[in-house]
C-alpha cells in the first residue's frame, strides 16, 4: 500500500536496443495501473525489475519513501502473480498461501487465520487441502492471487495472469481481481497485452511501446484522446487515411505527411442514394463483410483508401449488402484524429 515511482528505468539485454529505455511512471497509493503494450515492448522486463528479479541498468525504483532499486527480492514485500501461476506443486493450497507468511515469521495461529481469510476472499473455501494439480485453471489462478495478497504486499504485480484462462472465466476473474484490489486498497501494477483487460479493470492505463511510456491516462482518455499514432492504432480498431486528402480532422484539414484516424464504429454506413451527413464522406464499393455477432464490420474500397464502418448486428443497414455493392461512408471531423505520419 504505497506509491510506486519509476524514474528513468533502463534495461538492455546484450547489444540489442534497450528492452526498457528510460521509463518513467508513477502509480498513486491504491491505484490500479495497467501497463499495456504489444509483446516485446518491455512491459514484463519492467515488472521483473520492480519485483527485483531483474537488475536495472539505470534509473530508480521507489516504493513509498523507500528506494528499492537495489533491494534483494525477498526484502521487497511485493506480491507477484505469475503468468504461469508458479504454484509450488509439492504443497497444497494452504501451504502455498501460507508460505509467504511463514517466511515472514508470522505465528502459526495468525497464519492460519490469514490463510483462511485469503481463501475466503478468493472463494476457495473447502479447496485448501488440494494440491495445484488437483485444481482447475481458474482455481489455480485464485490460489496464486491469494498467495500474493496473503503477505499484505506493499505493491501487487500481476503478469498477464489471466491469459491462460478461457474467455468466460477471464471475464469473471477480471471483476474479482478488481474487487479484491479495491477492498485491500493495494497499489497494483497489471501487465497485459490485452487492451480489453486493461481498459476494463484498471483506474489508469499506461501504454508502452519500445521500452517507453507512450501515454498514461484513464481508460477513456486513452481510447478517446490517444496522444500518439501508436496508441491510436494499438487501442481499439482504427481507420487510417494518409494525407494529403480532403478530410477534416479535429485539429483542421489533413495535410501532406499526416495521417487521419477514425474509429470504424464512428463511421456511418450509407446505402446508395442516402444523403451524406457529417463533414467527411467517401463513396466506394464493399470489399468484405465480417459478422462478429453484436456488430458487423463492412470494409469498403474508397478513393481515400480502404475504410471500415461498423454497424449494429441488429441494424437493417447491412442486410442485403453484397461484396461489390456501392456504399457511402460518412463521419464527423470531431471523431477524426490527426497524427504526423
Amino acid at each position: 500500500m504505497a506509491r510506486l515511482a519509476l524514474e528513468g528505468l533502463t534495461k538492455a539485454y546484450g547489444t540489442a536496443p534497450p528492452a526498457v529505455d528510460g521509463l518513467t511512471l508513477e502509480a498513486e497509493e491504491g491505484e490500479f495501473l495497467a501497463l499495456l503494450g504489444p509483446s516485446g515492448c518491455g512491459k514484463t522486463t519492467t515488472l521483473r525489475m520492480v519485483a527485483g528479479l531483474v537488475p536495472a541498468d539505470r534509473g530508480r525504483i521507489r516504493l513509498g519513501e523507500e528506494d528499492i532499486t537495489a533491494a534483494p527480492v525477498h526484502t521487497r514485500g511485493i506480491g507477484l502473480v505469475f503468468q504461469s501461476y508458479a504454484l509450488f506443486p509439492h504443497m497444497d493450497a494452504v501451504g502455498n498461501i501460507g508460505f509467504g507468511l511463514e517466511m515472514q515469521g508470522v505465528p502459526k495461529a495468525e497464519r492460519q487465520a490469514r490463510v483462511a481469510e485469503a481463501l475466503r476472499l478468493t472463494r476457495l473455501e473447502g479447496l485448501g487441502h488440494r494440491r495445484p494439480r488437483e485444481l482447475s485453471g481458474g482455481q489455480q489462478q485464485r490460489v496464486a492471487l491469494a498467495r500474493a495478497i496473503a503477505i499484505r504486499p506493499r505493491l501487487l504485480l500481476l503478469d498477464e495472469c489471466l491469459s491462460n484462462l478461457d474467455a468466460k472465466l477471464r471475464e469473471e476473474m477480471r471483476g474479482e481481481i478488481r474487487d479484491i484490489q479495491r477492498a485491500s486498497a493495494t497499489t497494483a501494477l497489471f501487465v497485459t497485452h490485452d487492451q480489453t483487460e486493461a481498459l476494463s479493470i484498471c483506474d489508469t492505463v499506461a501504454v508502452m511501446h519500445r521500452g517507453r511510456i507512450e501515454q498514461r491516462g484513464t481508460p477513456e482518455e486513452i481510447y478517446e484522446r490517444p496522444a500518439t499514432r501508436f496508441v491510436a492504432s494499438f487501442i481499439g480498431r482504427m481507420n487510417a487515411i494518409d494525407g494529403p486528402a480532403p478530410v477534416m480532422t479535429r485539429e483542421g484539414p489533413l495535410g501532406a505527411g499526416e495521417t487521419a484516424m477514425v474509429r470504424p464504429h464512428r463511421v456511418r454506413l450509407l446505402r446508395e442514394g442516402a444523403a451524406a451527413e457529417g463533414d467527411n464522406a467517401a463513396s466506394g464499393t464493399v470489399r468484405r463483410i465480417t459478422y462478429i455477432g453484436d456488430i458487423v464490420q463492412v470494409q469498403a474500397a474508397t478513393p481515400l483508401g480502404p475504410l471500415a464502418a461498423e454497424v449494429s448486428g441488429a441494424s437493417p443497414l447491412w442486410r442485403g449488402l453484397d461484396v461489390g455493392a456501392p456504399v457511402g461512408l460518412a463521419w464527423s471531423s470531431s471523431d477524426t484524429l490527426r497524427f504526423p505520419a
Binding site: A51, G52, L53, V73, H74, T75, R76, G77, I78, G79, L80, F82, S84, A86, L87, F88, P89, H90, F99, G100, M103, Q104, R147, A148, I151
Partner: protein, 257 residues
Amino acid sequence: MIFRALVIAAYGFLLAPAIFVVAIAFSSDRFLTFPPPGLSLRWFATLFEHEQMMAAMQRSAILAAIVTTLSLAIGVPAAYAIARLRFPGRGAIFAALTAPLLLPTLVVGLGILLVFFPYGLAGTWPGLALAHLAVTLPLVVRIMTTAFATLPPDLEDAAATLGATPLKVAFRITLPLALPGLIAAAALSFLISFDEVVISLFIVGPRLSTLPVEMYRYVEGHTDPMVAALAVVLILLSISVVLLVERLVGFTRTVSK
C-alpha cells in the same frame, strides 16, 4: 507376437549369467560346476565366516557411503550453478565435470594412479574415495543438472518474492522438487562405488582393498562357489536399493527423466 518373443529373448540373454550364478551359489559341490550336482547353503555359511571378505564388504559399504555423500555435496551445488546461473566458462565446466563418463575406466584408472602415486594417495582411503569420485561425480552432475533444468525458474522466483531468502528457497522449494533426481543420484553413486572394480584395482593397496577387488583376487586363486554366493548377496543388495528408490519416487521415472 514376434516382438514379445524378442523381448523375452533379450531378457533371457541379459539375465542368463545371473541365472547361472544363482544356481551355482546354492551348489553343494566344491567346484564351479553347472548344473550343480546338489543343493545346499554351505557356500553362504563359508562366505559369512570368511573374515577377509566380510571386512572388505564393510569397507566397501563405508567407502560407498563416503563417496555418495561427497558426490552429492560437490555435485549438487555444481549442477545447480550449471543449470541456473549464467557465468563465463559454464559450458567448459560442465564438459570437464562430465567428460570422465566418456572415457574408458581403464584409462581413468591409469591416469589416477599416475597422479596419485607421487602424493602417496595410492592404497589410502582418501585416494580410493577421490578415485571413485571421478566416476560418481560426473554422474551426479549429469543427473542433477537435468533435474534442476526441468524445474520452472518461476517457482524459485515466486518463493523469493514471498520473502524466502536464497537458502530458504533452496531447502523449501528447489531441493524438495529435485528430490527424485537426488535419490536417483545417491542410489546410483552408492551402487557404482560399491561395485567399482577397474579403477579400484589400480588404487588399492595391500592393506586396503574393496569388495570387488577382493572378489577378483579370490577367483584368481580359488574355484569354489563362494564367490557365486557373494554375487547373490550383491544382487539382492542392488535389487533392494532399486526397490527402495522405486518405492520412494519411482526409479523408472527418475532415471529416464
